[in-house]
Structures are given as structure tokens and as C-alpha cells.
């Protein structure tokens, strides 16, 4: 045994080293075990986090947090008919829960196909009901569906998404990147209560005057926020395809119109700003203005002459054309350009029509543009420009995102000129064509517009676009309410009239009466008549 003492010594030392290394390794593992199980037993544990319950698009909510659009988890239900004991019984049961036609299910279950679609987009509660049937051979494919709880109310503004969850129209397209990348709900400027009131009242008047289309906008003239926007006919965004009479055209942004007398706001704003008129100056309006073979006439009788302020209030084309001509073509064009009426409006909604402007801006064009003919703009552009003339004179850019900050855009009018425009618009309601827009206590101001529609054979006397732009409270406007009706027909209550004073003005008044209290605008005692004051005073 001791024949190789050196070798034995070597083995012993190697065993010692190995033993030491093993002991060290076990000691380290043991120490770590003690550390993990005893010393750090309550250490950082992994927190259970669920995957976001949406298909990649954030919720859309209104300015008060009311839900407008949400990705809902849904399942498509497929079946393997060969697994059913009794395919007829399965068809009856599945039809009862999913709402799919029983006949169609019977047909596909007996068609010999291995794998058939039973129903699309089942909500989790429907899925649970299907599961409780206890049928074999059912397969669920999970997915998401964009759901709009308010349905038609928001169809045009919010738009739609494709099956892959990409926006294809409206704000869903315009805000696509924001909605896709946001972890929080995206807050819009819309107020769903106002949106409904606007839609309801406009639809009522559209119905009673049998208009082919209608629309409305409520804009905060200080912040530029669009509180509501409606275009009729609308469509059901949760349905597949359009129903009869439905339309996906947003007439407030996608269409351009010759808006008619409502454009006189700009002719007067320019004249007041440039001081080319005084409000008590008289304008002779007893005969049509002639330009070669064209002539400009008035709707109704206004007498021999009118003061400038009554030219506005009573909406005389002849008087306004004379006022427009004082500024001249170049200055008129520059002024409308400053108001953003000669170029497409840029906002979050992508469907925005470009204005149609006169190719040659001569004397007759200057005269007709001053009362809103010969120039076509989309209603939203008009609303933004009109708001800029009454909010103190600074340009507002409409936005669909909530923002409580007053915009300080480019100055387009002086404070005083803006103040005079508010007065003129109030006058058009108290003493002019917009009387039916007045709401006791809210000092509504505004301007009517009844435009003849251009047809292949010139302007039609019978087909009209009527509109009204109302501001309230007119001494310090906070909101502008615009309503528009396409081809309204007179009825018994209106004695056959279908002008703006009978259609758009009362529609705007009814909208204001409903929304002003909702928007927190308090009533103004000075705007009440004595009889109304007696009613209002406790």
C-alpha cells in the first residue's frame, strides 16, 4: 500500500480539493435556499397582470367620460355537424341562443360540410349561454369587434373600422395612430347629451318639412371644440351594411353648399371692420341690381330703403351686394381667405371637401359672394369662420379633441367689429328674419340663410338649402349652433313657407333651449320680456 507514497499523497490532496469544492458548492446552494425560502420568503412576487381587453384600439369617450366606442371581446361560433346527436335539435337550440335563422342552420348542418359557421361576434354572455347548451362539436374563435353604444347618434363623426381594427372613416381614421397607441381612453370634445338633442331636434324639423337631408353643428367659439355634429340621413355603425335610406356621407364636412344669406355675416364683418358703412346708413333697395343680363333681387318686400343694420336683419340681397361692392373683389377675397373659407379646413376628420370659389372674381362675383351665392363651402368651415367673427375676432380652428383652453388664433376682426357683429346677429333675431330662433332668457343672436339650389337649368326657385347660425348668449357668445336643411317643403303649420326663418331658425332655437341649461349657461334677466320675467321670478 505504501509502495507509492507520492501517488497516495497526490490522490489525497486531490480528494481534499474536490471535497472542499463540493462543500463550497453545497454551501452556496444551501445559503441561497435559506435566502430564498426563509429570509426572502415575502420578496417581490410576480404580479398577475391581465392582457388588455381590447383589440388594440383605445376606447373613445365624450367630454364627460361617456363611452362612445369600445373594442368588445367577441367570438365567432363554428360547428362540426358530424358531432351532433341530432342536428335538427342542435339547430333549434343554437338558433334560439344566437338569433341565427333556424332554417339556415338546419341547411348547413345537413350539407355534409365538416366545419360550418353558426354565428359571428357573440358577446361573452351569449357565449356562456351557448356553452350551457352542452352541445358537442362547437368551436369558438376569439376576436374583437368595435362597438358604438350610441349607434346612429355618432355614426358620421366617429366613423368606422375595418375587420383588422384600422380606422376607415371619421375620427376612427383621423385619430387612428392616437387610438392605436394610447393606453388610456381618448377623450373627444363631443358631449353626447348635446349630440342627441341636436340630432333629435334636427330630425324632427327634417321630418316635418320633408327635407331630403339635414345637419347641425354645435361649436364652442372660444376653444374651437365641436360639442356636437350631426348629419342626416345617418346609418347604424353596429350593423353590417346600410339600411334603406341610410347614407355614409357626412354633409357637414364632405359636401359643399352655396349657403346663401347666412354668408352676409362675412360681408358685414368686412364692412364693419373696414368701416365702409355705418349702421344707420340708408341703402336703396327698391329695384333689382343689374349686371348685364344678370340681376340681383330680394326675397319679399322691404320697401324703398333700409338702414344697413336692417339690411342685415331683414336679409336684403340688394343692400348686401352694394355693401360687398364697396370693399371690392380683392379685399373680399383676402378677407374670406383669412377666415379660412378659400382652402380646405384641416381638422381631425379626414373627409373634408375643398371649397368651390369663383374662377374669376369680378364685380358680379363680388356682389353674389357677399350674399352667399357663387361660392360653396362645407358647413364646418363656415361655422369656424362665423365663430371667429363673434368670439372677439380671433380665428378658431375646430377640434374634436377635448381642450378647455381658449384658442388665441390669428386676429381677423377687431374687438369692436366683433361686438357689432354680435349686435347685428341679435338684431336679426329680435327685429329680423330669425325671430323663431329666440329662446327666453338666452338672448340668441343669429342669421338665416335661404339659398336657391343650383340645378342644370340655373337656380331653382323651389329647391332650397335653408340654414341658421345662432349664437348664445349673444352679448358674450359661448356657443354657436348651426342647423341646415336640404330641400325642405312647406307645410300647413308654416303656411307653405320653407325658408330658413321657418325651418332652421326654430330648429336652432329648440336646440339652444335644450342644450343651454345642460352646458351650464345661466339665463339672463335682461333677455326676458316682462311677461317672461314674471314667470321666471320666484
Amino acid at each position: 500500500m505504501d509502495s507509492h507514497p507520492e501517488a497516495t499523497q497526490l490522490v489525497k490532496s486531490r480528494i481534499s480539493i474536490a471535497a472542499f469544492l463540493s462543500a463550497a458548492a453545497f454551501a452556496i446552494i444551501g445559503a441561497r435556499l435559506v435566502d430564498l425560502t426563509i429570509l426572502n420568503a415575502d420578496g417581490p412576487a410576480q404580479i398577475a397582470v391581465a392582457q388588455p381587453a381590447n383589440g388594440g384600439r383605445a376606447d373613445l369617450v365624450d367630454r364627460n367620460g361617456v363611452l362612445i366606442a369600445r373594442d368588445l371581446p367577441v367570438s365567432d361560433l363554428y360547428a362540426t355537424p358530424a358531432s351532433f346527436w341530432d342536428s335538427s335539435e342542435a339547430a333549434t337550440a343554437l338558433s334560439g341562443v344566437t338569433g341565427t335563422s333556424e332554417e339556415r342552420l338546419r341547411e348547413v348542418f345537413t350539407s355534409g360540410r365538416n366545419y360550418v359557421l353558426v354565428a359571428r361576434a357573440l358577446t361573452p354572455d351569449k357565449r356562456a349561454e351557448v356553452m350551457s347548451l352542452g352541445l358537442p362539436g362547437l368551436v369558438f374563435e376569439d376576436g374583437f369587434k368595435r362597438y358604438y353604444p350610441s349607434g346612429r347618434s355618432v355614426s358620421h363623426v366617429v366613423g368606422q373600422v375595418d375587420p383588422d381594427g384600422n380606422g376607415v372613416s371619421g375620427l376612427e381614421l383621423g385619430l387612428n395612430d392616437l387610438v392605436r397607441n394610447s393606453d388610456e381612453p381618448v377623450t373627444l370634445s363631443l358631449d353626447m347629451r348635446v349630440q342627441f338633442a341636436l340630432q333629435y331636434e334636427v330630425a324632427q324639423i327634417k321630418e316635418s318639412f320633408q327635407a331630403i337631408a339635414a345637419g347641425g353643428i354645435v361649436l364652442d367659439v372660444r376653444t374651437g371644440e365641436i360639442i356636437a355634429m350631426v348629419s342626416l340621413p345617418d346609418y347604424e355603425p353596429n350593423a353590417r351594411g346600410l339600411g334603406p335610406g341610410d347614407s355614409v356621407r357626412n354633409r357637414m364636412t364632405q359636401d359643399v353648399y352655396e349657403l346663401g344669406s347666412i354668408f352676409k355675416i362675412f360681408a358685414f364683418a368686412e364692412a364693419v371692420e373696414e368701416q365702409t358703412i355705418t349702421l344707420d346708413e340708408r341703402f336703396v333697395i327698391d329695384r333689382p341690381l343689374r349686371f348685364g343680363r344678370y340681376s340681383i333681387g330680394d326675397y319679399g318686400e322691404h320697401g324703398h330703403d333700409l338702414s344697413a343694420e336692417l339690411v342685415f336683419a331683414e336679409s336684403s340681397n340688394i343692400g348686401t351686394a352694394q355693401i360687398g361692392l364697396r370693399s371690392g373683389a380683392e379685399r373680399q377675397r383676402a378677407f374670406l381667405d383669412t377666415l379660412g373659407l378659400l382652402s380646405p379646413l384641416k381638422t381631425e376628420i379626414p373627409e373634408m371637401a375643398s371649397p368651390l370659389t369663383p374662377r374669376q372674381w369680378g364685380e358680379i362675383e363680388t356682389a353674389t359672394v357677399s350674399y352667399g351665392h357663387g361660392i360653396s363651402v362645407n358647413p364646418l368651415s363656415f361655422v369656424a369662420a362665423a365663430a371667429s367673427t363673434v368670439n372677439g375676432g380671433t380665428m378658431v380652428t375646430p377640434t374634436f379633441l377635448k381642450s378647455s383652453e381658449t384658442q388665441h388664433g390669428e386676429r381677423v376682426l377687431s374687438e369692436r367689429a366683433s361686438q357689432i357683429m354680435r349686435y347685428l346677429m341679435r338684431l336679426a333675431v329680435t327685429d329680423g328674419t330669425g325671430g323663431k330662433a329666440d329662446v327666453p332668457g338666452y338672448a340668441v343672436g343669429g342669421k338665416t340663410g335661404t339659398a336657391e339650389k343650383a340645378t342644370a337649368r340655373g337656380y331653382s326657385r323651389n329647391l332650397q338649402i335653408t340654414s341658421f347660425a345662432g349664437i348664445f348668449p349673444s352679448q358674450d357668445p359661448r356657443y354657436l349652433v348651426f342647423t341646415m336643411f336640404d330641400e325642405p317643403k312647406g307645410n300647413k303649420e308654416s303656411f307653405g313657407f320653407a325658408t330658413a326663418g321657418w325651418t332652421a331658425a326654430p330648429a336652432t332655437g329648440r336646440v339652444i333651449a335644450r342644450i343651454a341649461p345642460l352646458l351650464g349657461v345661466s339665463i339672463d334677466l335682461a333677455a326676458l320680456t316682462p311677461a317672461e320675467t314674471a314667470l321666471a321670478t320666484p
Partner: protein, 142 residues
């Protein structure tokens, strides 16, 4: 000595194996718990999302208006029925440390406290439609 050490190491190794097994098993169970908790949370969140959407649908103004019209004998409030703070009469100003005020409940009702004079009614601007009172000069702010 080596034998003792060997026994100790074998025992230690066995013990460590058991301990590692136990920890691994606990971790596996925790993972399973985590997965099922995550699934439960996801399911609850899905249900919440659906319920939130359902709530938005049933509380939308169009539906509430239709229900109110069917079941309530109420109509829209005309703006003349609304009041603002300016329309309320001002509160009578009696200092809180006024003895009569402090001991009001102990006083025999005669002589009765003089009622605080009501403020004069707010001036009502007379607006006769036949009089052209509405002019630029009378317009607020001008």
C-alpha cells in the same frame, strides 16, 4: 474522517434535493395559480368591458327620453322656469352675535321681531316691441 464527511455530504445532497424539489413544486403551483388568476382577471375585464358598453347603451339619452315620455308625466322644462342666482332675493343681514338673534328661540313672541326688510325687487327692463329700444348704443358692452 473522510467517511464522516462523505456521509455528511450525501445527507446534505439528499436534503438539498428534497428542498429543491419542494421549491420547484411550489413555484410550479404558483405559476399555475398565476395563470389562472390572469385568466380570471382577463375574463372579468372582458365582462366589465361588455357591461360598460351595455351601460352606455341603456343610459343613452335617446333611450332615456323614450322611456321618460312613455312612463313619466313630465315634459321639458321651458327656460322661463329656470332661475339664476341673480334672481333670488338677497338674504336678510342679521349679525350672528345680535342678542335677539342668539336668543331667538327663548324670546316670548311679543314684541315680535321686526322682519328683515326685503330688498327692493330687481329692476325689470321694460321692453315694448313697438318702441325701437334695441340699438347698438344700448347693446351690452358698447
Amino acid at each position: 474522517m473522510i467517511r464522516t464527511l462523505n456521509f455528511a455530504f450525501v445527507f446534505l445532497a439528499g436534503f438539498t434535493c428534497l428542498a429543491v424539489y419542494r421549491v420547484a413544486e411550489e413555484a410550479r403551483i404558483s405559476q399555475a395559480d398565476l395563470r389562472s388568476t390572469n385568466a380570471a382577471i382577463a375574463e372579468e375585464e372582458n365582462l366589465l368591458a361588455v357591461l360598460g358598453a351595455e351601460w352606455a347603451r341603456v343610459t343613452q339619452p335617446a333611450r332615456i327620453q323614450a322611456l321618460a315620455a312613455r312612463h313619466l308625466p313630465l315634459s321639458d322644462v321651458p327656460t322661463t322656469q329656470l332661475a339664476s342666482l341673480r334672481l333670488l332675493p338677497e338674504r336678510a343681514l342679521i349679525p350672528a352675535d345680535e342678542p335677539a338673534f342668539r336668543t331667538a328661540s327663548m324670546l316670548i313672541p311679543e314684541p315680535a321681531l321686526e322682519p328683515a326688510p326685503l330688498p327692493a325687487p330687481l329692476p325689470v327692463p321694460a321692453r315694448d316691441p313697438s318702441v325701437p329700444a334695441f340699438t347698438l348704443a344700448s347693446y351690452p358692452g358698447m
